[in-house]
């Protein structure tokens, strides 16, 4: 792998990182609007308001950079970067198309890599929640930490089930081993993984850490301008990453008709469909309370994930 090849791969990953979250953000504007019987942004850019997010970005960049007087300035400023960068790192390991050229860098322990780095991202929200020196931020940080600890376990267990089925921890390796009948076989795991992933992103209905009606905006209460925009971008990047990971682990990633030529299209379509589902969930369901979120993780998702691991093990041994 020479220098040019590495540079090209990194550029492609950076491009995906810069465009896909914005696409999801724009989709959220429009999908939510149409589900609620309105049209959403229509003016910016002309055609159906396609440039609304660009306009939002310009607005955010123009805002005054405010740090609360009592805040811990260094940590307060560092937090958005800690929240955003991990998602960029994760994209490197996600395979887009079959073969050596379809993934930024094939990581041997890919499943562990992506889950480990995703956990670091949540640290950014915790840092922001604490450093704001605001009691609502602190409450939001507490809920964030509790939610992370509760949902990390089902996330890992359901991913472990797929790794058991494939006999490898590498994401391209899992896709190489994937067969269509894994869909029903790993169905419970897919549900657990996707739900826990959405919960780690604090997307509705799991957005008690933000909960604008109770605790203003949780860890992000004191943030404004560009730093808030970075947190927002991290949320959209998170939707892309969780959807892409669910597609790779449970929906067969690039598998589909004409996978050799059109693999990247299948992967993007599956990721897009799951992202749509995430947005749909926000419109369709009311917010769960913080204690309901905990209860759901420990009494529903963890047992389901353990059951899925048992099913995977039995099938793996009985039909080798």
């Amino acid at each position: 792998m020479d220098f040019l090849d590495v540079a090209w791969r990194l550029a492609a990953v950076l491009l995906a990182f810069l465009t896909l979250p914005l696409l999801v953000g724009q989709a959220e504007h429009k999908v939510m609007a149409h589900m609620q019987g309105r049209v959403g942004p229509m003016y910016a850019g002309g055609f159906h308001g396609w440039a609304q997010l660009v306009a939002d970005g310009v607005k955010f960049a123009q805002k005054e950079d405010v740090v609360p007087a009592e805040a811990d300035r260094r940590i307060f400023r560092l937090a958005p970067a800690v929240a955003l960068v991990p998602y960029l790192l994760v994209l490197i390991a996600i395979p887009l198309a079959p073969g050596e050229g379809g993934v930024g860098q094939a990581v041997d322990a890919g499943v562990f890599f992506v889950l480990a780095v995703l956990g670091v991202g949540v640290l950014g929200q915790l840092m922001g929640g604490w450093a704001s020196a605001n009691k609502y931020s602190l409450l939001g940080g507490l809920r964030t930490a509790a939610q992370l600890m509760a949902y990390e376990l089902p996330l890992l267990l359901s991913a472990a089930s797929v790794a058991m089925a494939a006999g490898t921890l590498s994401l391209p390796g899992i896709l190489d081993a994937w067969e269509w009948w894994w869909l029903p076989w790993q169905l419970i795991g897919a549900f657990v993984f996707f739900t826990a992933g959405v919960a780690e992103l604090h997307r509705p209905p799991f957005d008690a850490p933000l909960a604008p009606e109770e605790i203003i905006f949780g860890p992000l209460t004191e943030y404004g301008g560009l730093r808030f925009a970075l947190f927002l971008l991290a949320e959209y990047a998170g939707i892309v990453v969780v959807s892409a990971l669910t597609a790779v682990l449970f929906l067969g990633g690039w598998h589909g008709p004409f996978a050799d030529q059109l693999g990247w299209l299948w992967m993007l379509l599956k990721t897009g469909a799951l992202s749509f589902l995430v947005i749909w969930m926000r419109v369709a369901w009311p917010r769960m309370r913080a204690d309901q979120i905990q209860k759901f993780a420990w009494t529903v998702l963890v047992p389901l994930a353990l059951f899925q691991i048992a099913v995977t093990g039995v099938v793996k041994v009985v039909f080798p």
């Binding site: 562990f112 480990a116 640290l123 450093a131 020196a133 602190l138 940080g141 507490l142 930490a145 921890l169």
Partner: protein, 205 residues
């Protein structure tokens, strides 16, 4: 290729030493800073530094597990505990422990023991880093072929700690709950350590 030596370090060796120094520095700041949450965040740097050291030694799997468990879970748990009890922004004047000289002595003794033992054990052994040594497959095979017994002993230890944590957290349930627990403990006396007796004494009645 020439024989490996201390006088002509490779790039990896230089990076290893530099990362080690950063890790050591972060660890020192973590125990000396008077700002509680900063200590936890410096711990993230120290633990991340150790993960980078594993990566440099091509032990990829161990490195990611280090990040997943220590940075992703243990530090989050620490921060959670700090936020739940007290996490003032700025210095805590009472952050100094009266035990700090004893702690320093213990730390130095532990470090001296570890360094002498490890140096003595691997005196002239060199790892060939050109081929990955710590791939998932290699670790899995070593763990479940040669080290199964220690692995199982460790999991039993963790299970015991888990049961202990549940028992401690249920102690406050009032006299009724503890009676039920004693009764179920007596029933399960011959069984292996089992979380059920501690978790759900009410349901068994």
């Amino acid at each position: 290729m020439t024989a490996p030596g201390f006088l002509s370090p490779t790039g990896v060796e230089i990076a290893f030493v530099l990362t080690g120094l950063v890790t050591l520095g972060a660890a020192l700041v973590a125990v000396t800073t008077k700002q509680l949450v900063h200590a936890a965040l410096w711990l993230v740097v120290a633990l991340g530094g150790i993960a980078v050291e594993y990566l440099l030694l091509t032990a990829e799997f161990v490195a990611w597990v280090q990040v997943l468990i220590y940075v992703g879970s243990i530090v989050v748990l620490l921060l959670f505990g700090l936020m739940l009890t007290r996490a003032p922004v700025g210095r805590s004047p009472d952050a100094d422990s009266g035990n700090r000289w004893v702690a320093l002595a213990v730390a130095l003794a532990a470090a001296a023991t570890l360094v002498t033992v490890v140096v003595d054990a691997f005196r002239t052994a060199w790892i060939d880093l050109d081929t990955p040594q710590g791939s998932t497959q290699a670790i899995g095979e070593a763990l479940f072929r040669h080290w199964v017994l220690p692995f199982e002993a460790l999991s039993l230890l963790l299970l015991a700690a888990l049961v202990g944590a549940i028992v401690v957290s249920r102690r406050r349930g009032g006299p009724d709950a503890s009676d039920a627990q004693d009764a179920s403990d007596a029933q399960d006396a011959q069984d292996a350590p089992d979380a059920r007796g501690a978790v759900a004494p009410e349901e068994e009645r």
